[in-house]
C-alpha cells in the first residue's frame, strides 16, 4: 500500500468513525428516551423521567468509548482519545495537575543531578590507574604555568609524588594558502611529556 492510499484509508476510517459516533449517539439517546417514556407512564413528569433515565443509564461517555473499542478502534484513535481524556481531566483539576507536573519535574531534575555526579565520579572516572592520586601543581599566585627549569627542579626534588609530568601547550597557525601572513586561525596543541 502506498503512503498516499494508506493515508486515504486512515482518514476514511476516521470519517467512518464520525458516522459511527453519530449513530451511536442517536442509539443511546433513543434508549434513554424509551426508558423515560416508560418512567413517565409510571407517573413521573417528563423532565424527572428523563433525568432518572440518564442516571440509570450510567457512565455514558465511558460506554461510548467501550463501544468504539468493541468495534476495534485503531491505535491512533485510541491514543488520541487517551490524550484528549488526559488533557480534559488535568484541566478540570488544575491544582492537582500543577502539583503532579511540579513533582515530576523536581524528581526528574534531582535524578538528573544525581546521575550526572555518579556518571562523572563512578561510571566514568579518568582513564588512568588510581585517578584519585592525580594532582595538578600550581604556583601559589594561582597561575598554573611553570618554566621548564622550574619543572626540572620540582621533578628532581619530588618526594610527594610517584612521578611528575609536564604539559606544554603551543599556539599554531593554519595557513589557508592564499596569504601566509598572518595565520587565519589559531589552535592549541597539547604535548604531554614525561621527561
Amino acid at each position: 500500500m502506498s503512503l498516499l492510499s494508506s493515508i486515504r484509508a486512515r482518514s476514511a476510517r476516521l470519517f467512518r468513525r464520525n458516522r459511527v459516533a453519530d449513530e451511536l449517539e442517536e442509539e443511546l439517546r433513543g434508549h434513554i428516551e424509551l426508558r423515560a417514556d416508560d418512567l413517565q407512564r409510571s407517573g413521573l413528569d417528563r423532565a424527572e423521567a428523563e433525568r432518572r433515565a440518564r442516571i440509570e443509564f450510567g457512565a455514558r461517555e465511558r460506554y461510548k468509548e467501550e463501544c468504539h473499542e468493541a468495534l476495534g478502534g485503531n491505535f491512533i484513535e485510541t491514543f488520541l482519545s487517551d490524550v484528549r481524556y488526559a488533557v480534559r481531566v488535568l484541566r478540570k483539576s488544575r491544582g492537582f495537575a500543577f502539583a503532579a507536573i511540579f513533582t515530576l519535574a523536581l524528581a526528574i531534575g534531582a535524578n538528573a543531578v544525581v546521575f550526572a555526579v555518579m556518571d562523572g565520579l563512578v561510571l566514568r572516572p579518568l582513564d588512568v590507574p588510581q585517578a584519585e592520586g592525580l594532582w595538578g601543581i600550581e604556583n601559589s599566585d594561582g597561575s598554573g604555568w611553570q618554566s621548564y627549569p622550574n619543572y626540572l627542579d620540582l621533578r628532581d626534588r619530588n618526594h610527594s609524588f610517584e612521578e611528575l609530568a609536564a604539559i606544554k601547550m603551543t599556539f599554531v597557525g593554519f595557513d589557508t594558502g592564499n596569504d601566509p601572513t598572518p595565520p587565519r586561525a589559531g589552535q592549541q596543541v597539547e604535548i604531554i611529556s614525561t621527561f
Binding site: L28, G30, H31, L34, R35, G58, R60, R62, A70, L71
Partner: protein, 113 residues
C-alpha cells in the same frame, strides 16, 4: 433491587443472544426482555449493554437494522445471524454443562464421599 444478582462476566453475551433469539429487539428492548425472562433477578447497568452488543455485532453474531420502536421512536434493532444462532446453541450447552456440574458439586453431602 436488593434481590438482584450481579451477572457473571461472560454471561451477558449469552443473555443477549437468548433475548434476541426470541425476536429482533432494540437495545432497550433487550434489557426489558432479559428482565422479563429472568424475573428481574439479574442486574445489568443499562449502558453496559451497548459495548456487549457492539462486540457481538463485530463478531458477526448479530446484525442491525434501523427501524421504528413500538412508541414511534427511531431505534436500531438487533437480530441473530446464522453464526449467532450457532454460537447461541453452543454456549447454551456449555452453560448447562457448567451449571449442572456446579450444582452437583455444591449439593454433595458428607455421606456421599
Amino acid at each position: 433491587m436488593t434481590d438482584q444478582a450481579q451477572i457473571l462476566p461472560g454471561t451477558l453475551d449469552l443473555l443477549i443472544l437468548k433475548a434476541v433469539s426470541l425476536g429482533p429487539l432494540h437495545g432497550y428492548g433487550v434489557l426489558l426482555r432479559i428482565g422479563q425472562i429472568s424475573d428481574s433477578a439479574l442486574l445489568i447497568e443499562q449502558g453496559a449493554l451497548y459495548p456487549a452488543l457492539f462486540r457481538l455485532v463485530r463478531q458477526g453474531l448479530l446484525k442491525t437494522t434501523w427501524g421504528v420502536s413500538e412508541n414511534n421512536r427511531r431505534a436500531k434493532f438487533y437480530e441473530l445471524t446464522a453464526a449467532g444462532r450457532k454460537r447461541f446453541r453452543e454456549e447454551t450447552e456449555d452453560w448447562n454443562r457448567l451449571a449442572s456440574a456446579m450444582a452437583t458439586a455444591l449439593a454433595t453431602r458428607p455421606e456421599e464421599i
